[in-house]
């Protein structure tokens, strides 16, 4: 049971790394608390449902679609909202209020558009274009579970974990191997100094905001597979969990989020195995523990002066 919980936790955790990484990127660059993060995740899930139900395509096609659409949405939202926030006396506090309002609006509009009922996608729909490759690598049946360490796991979890790893690597490459990424890290490190040295902080921030929302939407594509179904109200819980993971890894350190997600995933599955009725308290318990024991997070170097 422990091995199963550990492997399931790793797969689950990698997905949560993807859930949290966009949120951390936005916070790291702009010091904006995006309380609508989970709602963008939920919208990504609805894109996947649309791609699968309306177009009859593999939901994997929703990954690039959701990313591109929400990068554009992010750019538009950035120029609409963020410069005004940054010009205020207390942008962090105001961002909480603003994005909470945005979260409510998104949820209400989605409810009006799609109703309140659960929506899902058949689990064998995900990755059907790769079914042959999957059978070749893992064996088993094309629409059956995947065997790992002699135990079976949902194929959708393995696909989701694989996409998460790719996305995290791409974020890493973006941050550490591209010029825009270097500028992004400069803004994350010292926003005022970056501005003073002539970096176009607004442009860098807008791109980071777009990528943050795009990553949330990509994570959303896998939500119906990780949680069985999605409703317009899904965003709230996802936001709370995302914050727990981000704080766990380290605020402002997107790569730390990858570690935070894995720690969260494994902890969740182990608690669910041995103390199941307490499992949903985990995000809060982890938050309290990390704030008490290591306020800078697992990979944090210092405590941010908020």
């Amino acid at each position: 049971m422990l091995v199963y919980a550990l492997v399931a936790g790793l797969l689950f955790g990698l997905y949560f790394s993807l859930v949290g990484i966009g949120l951390n990127l936005v916070f790291g660059v702009m010091r904006i608390v995006n309380l609508a993060h989970g709602d963008f995740l939920m919208l990504g899930a609805f894109i996947a449902v649309g791609v699968s139900a309306l177009a009859g395509l593999d939901p994997l096609f929703a990954v690039p679609l959701a990313f591109v659409v929400f990068v554009l949405v992010g750019l538009a939202l950035y120029y609409l909202l963020v410069p005004r926030l940054q010009g205020s006396v207390d942008p962090e506090m105001l961002s909480i209020i603003l994005f909470f309002g945005l979260s409510q609006v998104i949820e209400a509009l989605t409810t009006i558009a799609f109703g309140t009922s659960e929506r899902s996608i058949a689990s064998n729909e995900l990755g059907k274009i790769l079914a042959g490759l999957r059978v070749h690598v893992f064996g088993g049946e094309a629409d059956g579970p995947v065997e790992l360490f002699g135990q079976s796991f949902p194929a959708s979890w393995v696909i989701s974990a694989a996409v998460s790893v790719v996305a995290i690597l791409l974020v890493y490459l973006y941050l550490y191997r591209t010029r825009l990424g270097t500028l992004t890290r400069a803004v994350m490190s010292r926003r005022e100094e970056a501005f003073a040295t002539g970096i176009n902080v607004d442009r860098v921030s807008a791109v980071a905001f777009g990528i943050g929302l795009g990553l949330a939407a990509v994570a959303g594509v896998f939500t119906p597979f990780m949680f069985g179904s999605v409703t317009p109200a899904f965003g709230e819980d996802a936001t709370v969990t995302s914050f727990a993971i981000v704080v766990l890894g380290s605020l402002g350190n997107p790569i730390g989020t990858a570690l935070g997600g894995v720690v969260y995933g494994i902890s969740y599955m182990v608690v669910q195995t041995y103390l199941s009725s307490w499992a949903d308290l985990l995000p809060y318990v982890l938050l309290i523990l990390i704030l008490l024991l290591r306020p800078s997070g697992l990979l944090g170097r210092r405590v941010r002066v908020a």
Partner: protein, 415 residues
């Protein structure tokens, strides 16, 4: 002498003349809550939509007959969105009672969102029309301010499940039972009841896995693996619709083959579960047989086909599914209507008397409305059924227990 005669005449006239009711109100205010978002939206919205459908239907006919005023009076549905939040629900129930001063108080759907209403109604001495909140703790001899409208109390709801397992189960080879439940009033009470029925039966069956999980649980893969490790012959999962969706999907995704598997919502919200789990994933699953499959004799309100046709016409966009909760909302509406037609006043205790006077006599599309002394619903039955392929790519219900309502034999083990 003359004065005494006049006084006696006046007194006589006073007793001879019937007490005149107060002026009839321009509308009867029915206060209720619904959840348009959050965890309970999918069970709350069908209930509320049915209630609204009834109110619109009655208002189009000029209102409902109110015996206290001997005339038809339009209904005003005063409703607020609690967003599946119990704290918000508490505030809004208070508002309905103290600010809106509604004539009749109707709870939101489900035990979680009914729980705050029970205490508030009792404090304000308002009679609570409890739609589907079946938690056992709501009903006690010292609380006269509640009655359950549209499904049985959770303590008796799972009796056919437990009786099947203890009486027919051993003959089929069922000896080891796994019990997984969400830790809320609705399913927690059912789990307690199952446990007690099984223990009291002293049958050769044992519960080898017994775990509660938070109602918010949406991922069961590890739990399913843990259950599998206990090698049960029968698995009972008690959760709300989102729990059942996630659980059944995970069962199929990890290729778990439970020989006997029970869930609540494949029966109660079949359309919703079919959409989210798929026909294949629901095949041979045991569940409660919904009233739509039992064709109860009706002496008040629409019959099932008529109601279903009206529902499909009204909610043709498919955003609110037809299912048990739609029936429950309409059943509540029928009880409200019948209560107003027999109550002598709108006094809350008189409303209670009127509701209880319907017990055993009112037969709706949901079965016989019958209450025990605490206000718990005991008339509407929940036979155990199994979902079988109908040969046309869909599913059909086969009632398997109790034997007197059975329409077929159970398939065991599930293929």
């Amino acid at each position: 002498m003359l004065g005494k005669m006049a006084a006696a005449l006046a007194a006589g006239l006073m007793f001879a003349t019937p007490v005149l009711a107060a002026d009839p109100p321009s509308e009867i205010k029915i206060g209720t809550l619904y959840a348009s978002s959050g965890r309970f939206a999918s069970i709350s919205m069908p209930v509320y939509s049915a209630l609204k459908l009834w109110a619109e239907q009655k208002n189009a006919e000029g209102g409902v007959y109110v015996k206290a005023f001997d005339k038809k009076i339009p209904i005003k549905l005063v409703s607020y969105d609690d967003q599946s939040n119990t704290a918000t629900a508490s505030t809004l129930y208070n508002q309905l009672v103290t600010q809106d001063k509604v004539d009749l108080l109707v709870a939101d759907s489900g035990s979680v969102l009914t729980a705050p209403a029970v205490a508030i109604a009792r404090d304000h001495k308002m009679f609570l029309f409890d739609q589907t909140g079946t938690g056992a703790s709501f009903f006690s001899k010292d609380n006269p301010y509640i009655a359950l409208m549209a499904d049985p109390v959770s303590t008796i709801w799972p009796k056919p499940v437990a009786d099947f397992l203890t009486q027919d189960g051993p003959k089929l080879g069922i000896k080891r039972i796994a019990l997984l439940y969400s830790t809320n009033e609705f399913t927690g009470t059912q789990a307690n009841a199952v446990r007690k029925f099984i223990q009291d039966a002293k049958a050769p069956v044992e519960i080898v896995y017994d775990q509660g999980v938070p109602t918010e649980t949406s991922n069961y893969t590890v739990i399913i693996n843990n259950i599998r490790a206990k090698r049960p012959d029968a698995v009972i999962h008690l959760g709300y619709a989102p729990n059942d969706i996630a659980f059944l999907r995970n069962v199929n995704e990890v290729g778990a083959k439970f020989k006997w598997l029970f869930c609540i919502y494949p029966g109660l919200e079949t359309e919703l579960l079919e959409k989210n789990v798929g026909v294949k994933g629901l095949q041979h699953v045991f569940t409660y047989v919904p009233p739509s499959e039992l064709d109860y004799p009706v002496n008040f309100g629409m019959k099932m086909p008529e109601f279903r046709a009206l529902w499909n016409k009204t909610f043709s966009d498919g955003k609110v599914e037809f299912g048990f909760n739609a029936v429950a909302g309409y059943t509540t509406a029928l009880v409200l209507e019948k209560t107003l037609s027999v109550a002598n006043s709108l006094d809350q205790m008189e409303l209670r008397r009127a509701v209880f006077s319907l017990s055993g006599k009112l037969k709706t599309l949901d079965g016989t409305f019958a209450l025990d002394e605490t206000g718990g619903q005991i008339g509407e039955l929940t036979p155990l059924g199994q979902l079988e392929p109908d040969g046309k790519g869909g599913l059909k219900f086969v009632a398997v227990y109790p034997h007197d309502v059975a329409t077929g034999k159970p398939v065991y083990p599930r293929p």
